[in-house]
Amino acid sequence: MARTRYAPDRGLTVRMTVTMFLLGLVFVAFVAAIIGILTAVHASGAAIVLVALIFGGGSAIASLFYSDKIALSAAGARVVTPQEAPELHAVVDRLCALADMDKPRVAIAPTRMPNAFATGRNSKNSVLCVTEGLLYHSTLTPEELEGVLAHELSHVAHKDVQVMTVASLLAIVAGLLVRFAFYSELFGGGRRSSNNNQGGIPVVLIIMAVSVVVYAVSFLLIRVLSRYRELAADRSGALLTGQPSALASALTKFSQGMSRIPNEDLRAAEPLNAFYFAPAMKLTRGGGGGGGGGGGKSLSQLFSTHPSLEKRLEQLAKIQRELGQPTAGGLSAGSGD
């Protein structure tokens, strides 16, 4: 068996495992708390929880199933045939053959902002979308463009849409519970408090408080997970093409170009941020979060769906060193077996 130069990054694996474990822990604690509250006061809160669960689960499944259609129509993108975009298809064809994966559909979005995203519930239904800005108006070289596409294909290979949907299910349900509890308190508060106001605090308020905490914690954990998934996609993409520095220079160009784009465009793109190659709101958010002085940068970092440019470049530099390691013993002469 030939030796491999493509050892997995253990540190990243450990960090991702811990994050997912914590998310699971929050989930279990949340369920336990809700069940605990409901059994302690036998109560009318059950209906709210059930409704939130059904709505939350339903919307998560729907968003998973229609993720490709939703994302494409949000971006105003159109699926293109190999005849319409032969060069783009050729790059994707080759990358898919290298990675031995099913080829996703390829779409182009009429946006001048250079960016790319991939989505879809499974490999058969996934779609890789690039903006016109990336294809025609950016200064990216073909190798840098290939790096970006390899990054996006890695998202498809890692099934990031599925993983992130499952991960955000908890936050969706918790968020819905907060809202439902708030409205039921607002409109039905008088009636309900006469029924089960034993402890002095209405059940619904307790559920709301627990949900707020769960929402906040899981929101942060999801962002952490998202940043790790980005690093993983960078890594796999760079290994696939064998050109970590092409991806690094693409990332650098992206972060420089973002500041020249008008704000309206950025806001329009924000819902898709988690799937994008580079976050569209990064600079605006970084600027807005800077109000607190020195803590501003780390705060914006905490809420970001993407790792900082420095982190991504650092990782790519490491991969570059790994790929450049000399072979022990040199090339064996003759074609042997």
């Binding site: 997995p8 053959a97 290298l98 599925q162 993983v163 093409t241 064998g242 790929l323 090339l331």
Partner: protein, 194 residues
């Protein structure tokens, strides 16, 4: 990719399958008998170069290795190295049209050199060129990651002769592992060595 790899966002780079390539010489005989296509004697290996000196050293070692036999009987011409517009490197080996065994051995030498040095996942495809008496061009493309072949018949412009490709596919069904997923039959326009 396993469940755990998906969960942890890891991709194992795919190692190439090399052995099925040796089915080519006998398939070429079938091809000539059934459709009149004969090997031109040239073939190429296409791989994605890795940045850095380690890889370029291996690249030049492979070239020297193949050129050692060049000019001797059965050794073919010196290899040509070209880089296409997508950043892939093509090593083209040219032999006489009846030296398909020597050609396949050359191609395999490139494969094993890359694999031995840990760069197996960089192999994309190998291509062996054929012509018929009407000068129609045909290539059998071997996909390293799948271990399968598919026919590629370019016409003028960026058009493919799909009818001919299907015909070749059926003719070789017993001799070669043909790629059944047609979406993976990607065109290699302007491939060196065709």
């Amino acid at each position: 990719m396993g469940f755990l790899d998906t969960l942890l966002g890891r991709t194992k780079p795919v190692q190439p399958k090399l052995d099925d390539l040796f089915a080519l010489p006998s398939a070429a005989i079938t091809l000539q008998a059934s459709s009149g296509f004969t090997p031109t004697g040239s073939g190429s290996v296409c791989f994605r170069s890795v940045e850095g000196k380690t890889f370029s050293d291996i690249e030049s070692d492979v070239r020297d290795l193949l050129n050692m036999d060049a000019g001797k009987p059965g050794g073919g011409l010196p290899v040509e190295v070209t880089r296409d517009s997508y950043g892939y490197t093509w090593l083209v080996s040219s032999h006489l049209s009846d030296e398909l065994d020597g050609l396949v051995t050359d191609l395999h030498a490139v494969n094993s050199a890359l694999v031995d040095n840990g760069f197996g996942p960089q192999l994309l495809c190998t291509l062996v060129a054929f012509r018929d008496e009407r000068e129609r061009r045909l290539a059998l493309v071997y996909l390293y990651k799948r271990g399968t072949f598919y026919p590629f018949a370019p016409l003028s412009g960026q058009q493919r002769d799909n009818a001919l490709e299907i015909q070749i596919k059926n003719a070789l069904a017993d001799d070669l592992k043909i790629e059944q997923d047609l979406t993976r039959w990607f065109p290699v326009w302007g491939a060196p060595g065709m």
